[in-house]
Symmetry: C2
Subunit: 226 residues, 2 copies
């Protein structure tokens, strides 16, 4: 739920936010695997801060759905079973298709050019860690003109929740190629101001991602919910 209108107003960054950012990245990158116990004292020592901001950060991440906290049992990196992945993708499809539908008529040529540049960057990028961020940037750039900040916030939150898994997808060269082809189709439909077409391409794109992930996780024996 982070990021409703962030960046618009300058807020001094708190330690808790910095910690949350670092941990979010660590979880997304797989450094912290699903199910890992996140001990407050341990983290406090590692980061060199006291327990207080660490708790704030954990609460924050819990709200984002990538950490689960049980009173007396503590915080763990949230796992995802394939059912939950399917749920997240179903919600993403709902939210993002709506945002795209609203956004397409309002998209400026400049924004579209920006989106295309992001696609070129993805093709050029060799660092696995950056793909996730670029992928997200591309998607969000198409939705920005939707005019509903809250909707964008939710979409961003769900990108966060799915980030770890998107990275798994993107590390697969085959999927990445297909994904990029779909991205270019999507962009083309947007350039033609064909909202219906764009939405249907996006819907297909997300379903493919979801299916690929669910198969990978059900078959591949990835670490499960704690």
């Amino acid at each position: 739920m982070r990021g409703f209108a962030e960046g618009l107003i300058d807020r001094p960054q708190t330690v808790a936010e910095q910690v949350a950012n670092v941990m979010r990245e660590a979880i997304a990158s797989g450094t912290l695997k699903a199910g890992t116990a996140l001990r407050q004292d341990e983290l406090a020592e590692q980061f060199g801060f006291s327990r207080m901001p660490i708790r704030d950060a954990l609460r924050q991440l819990e709200a984002e759905g990538i950490v689960s906290i049980h009173p007396t049992k503590g915080a763990h990196v949230a796992g995802m079973d394939s059912a939950e992945i399917a749920e997240i993708y179903a919600v993403r499809e709902l939210l993002e298709c709506e945002a795209l539908r609203l956004s397409v008529p309002a998209l400026s040529g400049g924004k579209l050019d920006e989106a295309e540049q992001v696609l070129d960057q993805i093709d050029a990028e060799r660092n696995v860690g950056r793909w996730g961020a670029l992928n997200r940037a591309f998607h969000l750039s198409l939705y920005h003109a939707c005019g509903n900040q809250r909707l964008l916030g939710l979409i961003e939150a769900h990108h966060n929740a799915a980030d770890r898994y998107v990275r798994i997808l993107l590390s697969n060269l085959d999927y990445r190629k297909r994904s990029q082809a779909e991205h270019r189709d999507l962009l083309a439909a947007c350039r033609q101001r064909d909202g219906k077409k764009a939405v249907s391409v996006l819907r297909q794109h997300l379903r493919e991602g979801s299916d690929t992930l669910v198969n990978a996780i059900e078959g591949g024996g990835l670490s499960r919910k704690s």
Copy 2:
């Protein structure tokens, strides 16, 4: 974002959660008006707890969008301008219509009877404070069979965010009558397993609520964002 699968697993309630619950109710009921400063040590003294759980509670409420926190300036009861109300209702429409669409074919007769009982309770209820809760219970009871916990969680979160304003609506006798009529239409469509009809009634219902609220707030001079 609270309440994804709450209640299914017994978690000992933390002080922070209790505090959050009390404050959520206080904000929804209007006891705490929009813009009110929420000073940590003041609250700590009032509740008789230390600052730590109060901070946790404030973070929680911030994630729910009903409190805004600025480092160094502290927490305030979040206001809503009419634009934000429109946004929330647009998202609610999207989420709830989808949940209903998925849910209708799976709704058991028992669930429908329960929903009808809730409607009867609303008619009988004289206490303004309870209407909001009953109204929410009715809506959620129709969505429960949608099979997507995450979607239900988001819907609940948006009910929380809109709660204060729904209560304003419901304290208006005229709106309440119309609303109840629409609720019965909605229920009837569900009984007929007519998903399309049900969704269209729901959509109309939510749009009416949104419009009524936006007009009330733009005209009525309600307290604004801090």
